[in-house]
C-alpha cells in the first residue's frame, strides 16, 4: 500500500494494521541502524521498539517536509543520541565477539586463507567503533543505510557541509586504521 496512505490511516483512524505495515517495512533498517551502533541485538531491538512507539505518538508532527524514512531515522538518531548521553554502557559488535588483540592478529597470519573475511570484518567493525560519534553515524547512515548527505543533514540536524566533512574524516580514519591492519 502507498506509504502516504498508510500514514494517513494511522493519523486519522489510529489504524494499527496500517502501522504494522509501516513497522514491517522499516523494522530491518531501523534495527540494523541500532545494531550497527550498539552491537547488542537485544538493546538494538529495544531502541528500535522505542523508535516506533515515538513514531506512533508523534506522527501528527510529521510535516512531510522530508521523506518518512528521513523523519524516522531522525527519531532513531535522537533516541540513540539520548542513549549515548545517558552514558549507558555501549557495546560494540567486537565486544560481543571478542575483539582480536594485535598479537593474536599477527599469530593468525598463517591461517589467513580461512579466516581472512571474518578477520577483516572484525577489523572493520573495530575501526568503525573507534571513530568519533558523529563521524561513525554519518558513515553508518551513508554507507549502510544508503541515506543521502542531504537526508543525513536533516537526520542529524547539521549543515550538509558538516556531514560531508564528517564523512571525509571518517573515511580517512577508516583508511588509516584498515590499511595497516586488514589482511588482503
Amino acid at each position: 500500500m502507498e506509504e502516504k496512505l498508510l500514514i494517513a490511516k494511522v493519523l486519522l483512524l489510529n489504524d494499527e494494521k496500517a502501522f504494522a505495515q509501516l513497522v514491517e517495512r522499516y523494522q530491518r533498517p531501523v534495527r540494523g541502524f541500532f545494531l550497527t551502533q550498539t552491537g547488542d541485538p537485544a538493546l538494538s531491538d529495544d531502541l528500535a521498539q522505542e523508535t516506533f512507539i515515538r513514531v506512533w505518538e508523534r506522527l501528527g508532527s510529521f510535516r512531510q517536509l522530508s521523506g518518512f524514512s528521513t523523519w524516522l531515522y531522525r527519531i532513531a538518531y535522537n533516541l540513540w543520541y539520548d542513549e549515548v548521553r545517558s552514558r549507558r554502557p555501549m557495546l560494540s559488535l567486537d565486544d560481543a565477539e571478542g575483539p582480536p588483540l594485535e598479537a593474536e592478529i599477527s599469530l593468525q597470519a598463517g591461517q589467513r586463507d580461512e579466516n581472512c573475511e571474518r578477520e577483516r570484518a572484525r577489523w572493520v567493525r573495530q575501526a568503525v567503533a573507534r571513530m568519533d560519534e558523529p563521524e561513525r553515524t554519518c558513515i553508518v547512515l551513508f554507507y549502510l543505510q544508503e541515506q543521502s548527505t542531504r537526508a543525513i543533514a536533516r537526520i542529524m540536524d547539521m549543515p550538509e557541509g558538516t556531514v560531508r566533512s564528517h564523512l571525509s574524516r571518517g573515511r580517512a580514519k577508516l583508511k588509516a586504521i584498515l590499511e595497516n591492519n586488514v589482511p588482503r
Partner: protein
C-alpha cells in the same frame, strides 16, 4: 586495501555488519507496546491547538477574501503610481487584507522553517 576504499567501502562495511533478518515477532512486540489510543475528542482538540489549524484558518480566510486582497493590491499599485493616498475607509480595508495575507505568509514560512 586501497581499492576497497576507493571503490568498495560500502560493500566492505555491509559485509562487516550483517543486517538483522526480518522478524515478525518484533512487529507484534511493537504493536503490543503501543500506548492506548487517544479518543476522537482529544485528537480533534490537539489538531485545533496545532499550528496547522491556524494555518488552515488563515488560508481559508484568504480564499474567502481573495477578491478583496486583489482589489487592495490594485489600489495600492494605483496609489503608488499616482502618489496619492486612498481614502481612510479604503485604507483600513487594505490594511486588513494585507495583514491577513502577511499572516498567511509568515505562518507558512514558520511551518516550513520548523
Amino acid at each position: 586495501m586501497k581499492e576497497y576504499f576507493d571503490k568498495e567501502l560500502s560493500t566492505l562495511l555491509r559485509e562487516s555488519y550483517p543486517q538483522p533478518e526480518h522478524d515478525a515477532a518484533f512487529t507484534r512486540r511493537v504493536l503490543r507496546a503501543l500506548p492506548a489510543r487517544k479518543s476522537l475528542l482529544i485528537r480533534v482538540l490537539e489538531f485545533v491547538a496545532s499550528p496547522w489549524f491556524l494555518w488552515l484558518v488563515i488560508v481559508a480566510l484568504c480564499i474567502v477574501f481573495r477578491s478583496r486582497i486583489m482589489e487592495s493590491a490594485a489600489i495600492c499599485v494605483r496609489s503608488i503610481s499616482s502618489a496619492t493616498l486612498p481614502d481612510s475607509d479604503t485604507l483600513s480595508k487594505m490594511i486588513v487584507s494585507f495583514t491577513l495575507f502577511a499572516f498567511m505568509l509568515v505562518t507558512l514560512w514558520r511551518e516550513a522553517e520548523e
